[in-house]
């Protein structure tokens, strides 16, 4: 019977081509617009660390200016996003977390003896050894450095897949030597293709930046006098007593180190929280941390929300797109009602010939579903077009976000069918309730 209804629906759509095209276009435009925006929002708010969401935590400590909280009125939890070098190195001494990472963004010029490769600037992550295991960055060759390299300088480097491709043509380069700012570094590992989006482990400088090209140990700071290439915020320009130069920077109240820990269970988490509170109490005795005792451990999912990866504009656009779809649905209701009422005499005849109200209802609902499917397919086309437009217009790493996966394609068709079923519900009900006898008499 469904087959019969579908063939009737298609026949009916062909019978009023302009009206049908109008309705399909209305649904398609509504679905296209909402799917474009929803896809961008869905991809934007994806959590690349979802598998470890109950084990990973970003660490924040409130050692900010006693006179005013960090970032009044802006996003976040009124605590600095990053730690001072002093606190980071102190936290690294804890053996409670299964893994822990202190890190920040940096940059090196890279040169190799091979004259064919021109020197280039590579965005670098300065980090402790656990980075790769904690964030599930997979190795293609070799592996990470020893723990000692996080405390004393050791000139070793892990390359990203792209960097290895560029320098060594994708072959196993472990053991090769490259020059970073003119100093020799030995390659000890090469990652596989790895590019979490959004870049949840470092959201400071754009939410969709590519992951780094090089990774070097945390123990190299003093040797290379490394500053952060990411954010660096301070509130107290008092230079640590009696210190000058780079040492003063390392001991200052500037926050520039990002800190993550992996805690396996609730007990471990509670133990670590106690450890953090103790650390702050100790520091208070030394005259630091004059604000009320406050720290935070945030899961990746919470971290993404706090950093407003899905920003206000995206939310406004999402609501706007849904309202747009609503207008399209109301439009389709009006047109379907007009169309169905025009066909009321036919429905009357069908009733006389034995169709129940239910079969008339289902028949007309099938007709609106056909409009929904066609509108959904056209809507996916429009959404793909819209996403191309977003890629062209937005840029800035945003291009990786503006893609549709299969889930979104099915969601688009589903949305179109739900929209048109909703649109068809009232008109179909209305026509199934009309009294057939008035249409059977001649005038």
């Amino acid at each position: 019977m469904i087959g019969y209804y579908i063939s009737l629906a298609l026949r009916s759509l062909r019978g009023t081509p302009i009206l049908s095209a109008l309705m399909i276009a209305a649904i398609a435009v509504g679905v296209g617009a909402s799917m474009t925006v929803l896809t961008v929002n869905y991809m934007t708010s994806k959590n690349p660390l979802v598998d470890k969401d109950d084990q990973l935590y970003a660490v924040q400590l409130d050692g900010w200016d006693p006179n005013e909280a960090y970032n009044r009125g802006a996003k976040g939890n009124q605590m600095p996003w990053q730690l001072t070098y002093r606190d980071a190195t102190a936290l690294l001494r804890s053996d409670i977390p299964k893994r822990q990472v202190a890190m920040h963004k940096f940059g090196f010029t890279v040169s190799v003896d091979d004259a064919e490769v021109r020197p280039f600037v590579a965005v670098t992550r300065v980090t402790t050894r656990d980075f790769f295991a904690l964030f599930d960055a997979p190795f293609q060759y070799g592996g990470t450095w020893e723990k000692s390299a996080d405390e004393s300088p050791k000139q070793v480097v892990v390359l990203s897949q792209a960097t290895n491709e560029k320098l060594f043509g994708d072959k196993n380069s472990v053991g090769e030597v490259i020059q970073l700012n003119g100093e020799a570094f030995t390659v000890i590992g090469v990652l596989k293709e790895w590019n979490p989006s959004p870049k949840v482990y470092d959201l400071n400088n754009g939410h969709f930046q590519d992951s780094e090209e090089l990774y070097i140990p945390f123990g190299l700071h003093r040797k290379f006098e490394i500053h952060s290439w990411g954010n660096n915020n301070g509130w107290n320009s008092d230079i640590a007593k009696g210190l000058t130069g780079y040492e003063a920077h390392l001991h200052s109240e500037s926050v520039w180190i990002q800190y993550w820990v992996e805690l396996e269970n609730g007990a471990q988490k509670r133990e670590y929280e106690e450890f953090l509170a103790n650390h702050i109490r100790q520091q208070k005795e030394q005259g630091r941390f004059q604000r009320p005792l406050k720290f935070a451990l945030s899961r990746p999912s919470e971290w993404l929300v706090m950093n407003e990866v899905l920003d206000h504009d995206s939310r406004v656009l999402a609501w706007c797109a849904l309202a747009f779809l609503l207008v399209c649905v109301v439009n389709a209701i009006a047109l379907l009602l007009a169309k169905f009422l025009r066909k009321a005499p036919e429905a009357g005849v069908r009733r006389a010939l034995g169709a129940s109200r239910q079969s008339i209802f289902v028949q007309h609902l099938m007709e609106s579903s056909c409009i929904g499917v066609l509108g959904g397919i056209a809507g996916i086309g429009l959404a793909l077009l819209g996403l191309t437009g977003v890629r062209v217009l937005a840029g800035g790493g945003f291009d990786r976000v503006a893609h549709m996966d299969w889930a979104m394609v099915f969601a688009a068709i589903g949305l179109a069918i739900v929209a048109s079923l909703l649109a068809g519900l009232y008109p179909a009900w209305r026509i199934s309730q009309t009294n057939p006898s008035i249409y059977l008499k001649t005038q």
Binding site: E346, V349, L353, G354, A355, R357, S359, S437, L440, T442
Partner: protein, 233 residues
């Protein structure tokens, strides 16, 4: 076949209540050919709609084929319409977008027959009304008489035991009207019960029995026939 007892039907608007049928009682036996006449607004159409299960009466009893239909659900009434009743209208009421084949197909679809059975019945029905060659034509391509024959074919395809005809010849010239009438008589001879509403006394007389509705009630039969004879004389 059909048994109505004290059927009432009233239509209510905000201000007035109109009684279309009042204590209407009628019995039609299996195999009968009954004509129903009466002046405009007498309740002929209301009777037909109730008899055909298109409307429900306000009160009274209606047994169709021995079954009380008053308490049936829409779905059961629809099935009954589909299986037991065939309709023929003055305006033919063919679906203009469907060709003859598909028009006749409509009730068979609701009946749930498979494709082979439907095809067999459609072809036979078209043959019975002599329009086999035009199965793929649209109704608009046919003359009025041909259209009415298609409508009859559509009514017959489900092999109903009971045929309701509402002014079946009203829109036709006399030649075509006679052909349609002959077709109905032929169908009746094969055992189908027919109730035909008409205002044409010649046609009415060709039925085995004539009923006149006046003011929503069956008026005295013989008297009315006598009156008509006087009037036509």
């Amino acid at each position: 076949m059909l048994k109505m007892h004290n059927i009432r039907k009233s239509y209510r608007t905000d201000t007035i209540e109109t009684h279309a049928l009042r204590d209407f009682s009628l019995e039609v036996n299996e195999g009968e050919f009954v004509s129903v006449t009466g002046p405009s607004g007498s309740g002929k159409t209301t009777f037909l709609n109730i008899a055909g299960l298109l409307e429900t009466p306000t009160g009274g009893e209606y047994l169709l084929d021995g079954q009380e239909v008053g308490n049936l659900s829409d779905r059961e009434r629809s099935r009954m319409r589909n299986e037991k009743i065939g309709f023929i209208f003055q305006g033919f009421n063919l679906i203009p977008d469907l060709n003859l084949f598909d028009n006749i197909d409509v009730p068979l679809r609701y009946r749930g027959f498979n494709g082979k059975e439907r095809r067999r019945r459609i072809e036979r029905a078209l043959e019975q009304v002599g329009l086999s060659a035009r199965a793929k034509h649209l109704p608009a391509q046919l003359s009025g008489g041909q259209q009415q024959r298609v409508a009859i074919a559509r009514a017959l395809a489900g092999e109903p035991r009971f045929l309701l005809a509402d002014e079946p010849t009203g829109n036709l010239d006399s030649l075509m009207a006679r052909q349609v009438m002959e077709l109905l008589e032929f169908i009746n001879e094969w055992g189908t019960t027919i109730v035909m509403v008409t205002h044409d006394p010649d046609l009415a007389r060709r039925a085995q029995r004539n009923i006149q509705i006046v003011d929503g009630q069956v008026s005295d039969l013989r008297q009315s026939i006598a009156q008509q004879e006087i009037a036509t004389a």
